[in-house]
């Protein structure tokens, strides 16, 4: 009998033994990234730790969060006060949403640290990004995260299959002169040429809606399905829109009805793949079809240089991105990727020094993002050419920090990062830049409205439902779920924000 118990005890000991780590001289700081695809980081961390030992005075460990697990892991670590996570990704759309978590005291206020160690960081990042990160947090107005310098402006584009367009007898200039409401003849021709099972219009329905009606994502609005519309001034994004700085019920506007009617017409004519109208298949269908080049016009929320990515180059067709508006900076985009320091961290100083170095030192940024030279990439005429090893080490480039200090890759061509920097540094902010809707007072309404909108919005945006029948029912359901209260609260907050600004 004793033997059995001894055996169980021994097993229990083995199971827990692996929990202990060996003591090190330098303190260990841990950073948690989003969206990584990393299976082997040994070579990189070795090089990084050799490089930062003197500069930062700490040893780095990385938690490579993936798209699917980051939200759970980050919120658990923060809410439980886990000392094992020092730095964590945050932004306007992740579960550890920047404004909320800063307000609730999970992020360290960085102003003092920036004053002491942040000279290089301040020099490397545009003033506007620092401002975008300055919010009312737990310890008053201040900066609670290091804002990454990436594609900080939004620009929605038509994704045009130029090869097919030319085949149909049109030039790109012809296309540029057209609007969404004139696409019908193009689609009809494409159907004629390519056959009945060809769907020329490959859209991301929600993005399409914003493109056509000229509205933006309002930070803090219901995330799954946006409910609020703020209309842009499409000629000059920094000026007030046609409705002024007012938040509207997205689905109750005249623009929306017009859009939904036209889209339904396109859908009925067989120009849109029906699986785009179903939430479960919409994105898969779009990305899979995009890869094959079997479309005429698509939608793309664009980032400078996207046309040089393998994603576009591999389609086997000539692709052009035709912008709907000039790039604009809104709150969502300007808080698109940040790195915060957890208040539970035992090494906030070292952590900040690391973040400052990562955002201002090209050597470290390149190492962390592209890996080790000779292993993950080789230099060809000063341009980065990735090796096969890159497949085992692909962090999310834009989620890491200042990507403008990265070297150019072979696909992008020389001078790319320089133009990238210019492009985004020159982007104009919308009038309501910085406004974040605090949805806490109407959280119940938002949940109910989100459920209602999830039933109708995507199918309407994709044209699968007839707005003549559905829109009145939809609007009524929204009203019953408290749309007016939601709108009033949002507009009261926006007014207060604009008058304070």
């Amino acid at each position: 009998m004793k033997k059995v118990f001894a055996l169980i005890l021994a097993l229990a000991m083995i199971l827990t033994a692996s929990g202990f780590a060996l003591a090190e001289d330098l303190p260990t700081i841990t950073i948690m990234f989003h969206g990584s695809n990393v299976t082997d980081d040994t070579a990189v961390l070795e090089a990084v730790n050799a490089y930062i030992a003197d500069k930062v005075g700490a040893k780095l460990e990385v938690v490579w969060g993936t798209w699917g697990d980051f939200d759970e892991k980050a919120t658990n670590a923060l809410l439980s006060g886990d000392t094992g996570i020092d730095m964590v990704f945050t932004c306007s759309w992740s579960a550890d949403e920047y404004n909320t978590y800063a307000k609730n005291g999970y992020f360290v206020k960085l102003d003092d640290l920036i004053a002491e160690y942040g000279a290089d960081l301040v020099a490397a990042i545009p003033e506007s990004l620092m401002q975008a990160a300055t919010i009312e947090g737990a310890e008053g107005m201040g900066i609670y995260a290091v804002n990454g310098f990436k594609d900080t402006a939004t620009q929605n584009c038509w994704d045009v299959n130029v090869t097919l367009l030319n085949e149909l007898g049109y030039t790109l200039d012809d296309f540029k002169a057209m609007s969404f409401y004139d696409f019908g003849e193009l689609f009809a021709k494409a159907k004629e040429v390519k056959g009945d099972s060809f769907y020329p219009f490959l859209v991301e329905p929600m993005v399409l809606e914003r493109m056509v009606t000229g509205s933006i994502i309002v930070a803090g609005d219901s995330g799954s399905t946006n409910l609020l519309s703020l209309y842009l001034n499409q000629d000059d994004v920094s000026a007030e829109g046609p409705e002024g700085n007012v938040l509207l019920n997205k689905f109750a506007t005249e623009e929306y009805r017009k859009f939904a009617e036209k889209m339904h017409e396109y859908y009925e004519a067989g120009y849109v793949d029906p699986s785009l109208a179903v939430a479960e298949t919409s994105n898969d269908t779009r990305t899979n079809t995009q890869k094959t080049g079997e479309y005429l016009i698509g939608t793309q929320s664009y980032a400078f240089g996207y046309e040089f990515s393998a994603d576009v180059l591999d389609r086997g067709i000539e692709v052009a991105f035709v912008p709907c508006t000039e790039p604009y900076v809104d709150t969502t985009a300007s808080q698109g990727a940040m790195m915060a320091i957890s208040t539970a961290s035992e090494h906030p100083e070292e952590s900040f020094k690391f973040l400052a170095l990562l955002n201002s030192d090209p050597t470290l940024m390149t190492l962390m993002n592209y890996g080790v030279e000779g292993v993950h990439y080789n230099l060809e005429d000063g341009l980065v050419a990735f090796t096969e090893e890159r497949a085992n080490y692909s962090p999310w480039t834009n989620g890491m920090g200042n990507v403008t200090i990265l070297p150019d890759t072979v696909d992008e061509g020389a001078g790319f990062r320089e133009s990238f920097k210019e492009y985004y540094a020159g982007a104009k902010g919308i009038p309501a830049l910085g406004f974040v809707f605090n949805n806490e007072p109407v959280a119940n309404e938002m949940a109910a409205l989100g459920t209602v909108a999830a039933q109708y919005a995507l199918a309407l945006d994709a044209g699968a439902l007839d707005p003549a029948d559905t829109l009145p029912v939809f609007l009524e359901a929204l009203d019953a779920a408290g749309m007016q209260a939601y709108l009033d609260e949002a507009n009261a907050q926006l007014d207060a924000y604009m008058s304070a600004k």
Partner: protein, 307 residues
């Protein structure tokens, strides 16, 4: 003798019409269980082009073993996680069955003084949970359950539901006289439990073991919570779940992420690959069923037969 048999048989049979009806119903039900799995197997052998053109279909346009080739190329990571799934299931099932039996046996013994208290202690957790974050704090900070096998086993070791099932099983199958008899014959408590009681309750243990094995085999949420750096210990389920969650997240946030989402989607595995992994996950546990089956059936009927 023969007559008696016929009469008995007559008691338990129906007319041919009813027979056909029941067979039909049960056959249809069996089909409903099997067809989805067959569909998964077909999809896993479907070529990517066919999926793109006509979606999932029982009669795809083209066949391909590409998904399986890719799975085998995953190499180390795949076999490692496959091994982990087995390890976690075997160790976890053995430990949890031991704990369940050792907890429920005293609850069945009327002469155990603190029965009421321990009954309540286990029952209470069925109604009130600690919530996700407190549980996380206890497991990770207090017990050190992170980035190790223990994190994937310990939180699931004790199941109050199984304790209730097992206790009831003791109550219905083990007569108190049996324990008295073995005490009179001079057996100690351990000998009574291990050599007298356990052989009687084998069907109950098999049922519990099956439930536990399924729970451990299908578990992925613990990996999501507690495995952050050491990806060497994740089970196959989590490998699959991670792919699925990545795809879901990108679908949900494509509007926010824009071009990044499109780039990331390139790294996602194909539909057929996902189905191939499902096959890998389902086959072992499906193979384990027949071995448990006769005990589970015995477990279901044993009470009524003894009557």
């Amino acid at each position: 003798m023969e007559k008696a048999e016929r009469r008995n048989a007559g008691l338990n049979t129906f007319g041919p019409g009813a027979q056909a009806l029941f067979h039909g119903c049960l056959g249809l039900f069996a089909l409903l269980c099997i067809v989805p799995f067959l569909f998964v197997i077909i999809i896993s052998f479907t070529s990517e082009d066919s999926i793109r053109q006509i979606g999932y279909s029982f009669a795809p346009l083209g066949w391909s073993t590409q998904a399986y080739n890719y799975v085998f190329q995953l190499g180390g990571a795949l076999w490692r996680s496959y091994f982990n799934s087995f390890l976690i299931t075997v160790v976890g099932t053995a430990l949890s069955v031991a704990i369940c039996v050792l907890y429920s046996y005293p609850l069945y013994r009327k002469d155990y003084k603190y029965r009421g208290f321990f009954n309540f202690l286990s029952f209470f957790t069925m109604i009130f949970g600690g919530g996700l974050v407190p549980t996380f704090v206890v497991c990770k900070t207090l017990l050190g359950l992170s980035d190790n096998y223990a994190a994937l086993i310990v939180p699931l070791l004790f199941s109050p539901f199984n304790v209730i099932v097992m206790r009831t099983f003791f109550q219905t199958t083990v007569p108190r006289e049996l324990i008295e008899a073995s005490t009179i014959d001079g057996a100690g408590e351990y000998r009574t439990l291990l050599q007298v009681v356990l052989p009687v309750v084998k069907p109950g243990i098999a049922t519990i073991a099956l439930l536990n094995a399924l729970a451990f085999w299908n578990e992925w949420f613990l990996s999501l919570l507690y495995i952050t750096k050491n990806m060497d210990v994740i089970p196959l389920q989590y490998l699959l779940m991670r792919m699925q969650r990545n795809a879901d997240f990108l679908a949900k946030n494509a509007g926010m992420l824009g071009a990044d989402a499109a780039k990331a989607a390139r790294n996602l595995p194909s539909q057929s690959l996902k189905m191939a992994l499902v096959v890998f996950i389902v086959v072992p546990i499906a193979c384990a069923y027949p071995f448990f089956q006769r005990y589970v059936v015995a477990g279901l009927t044993v009470g009524s037969v003894k009557g």
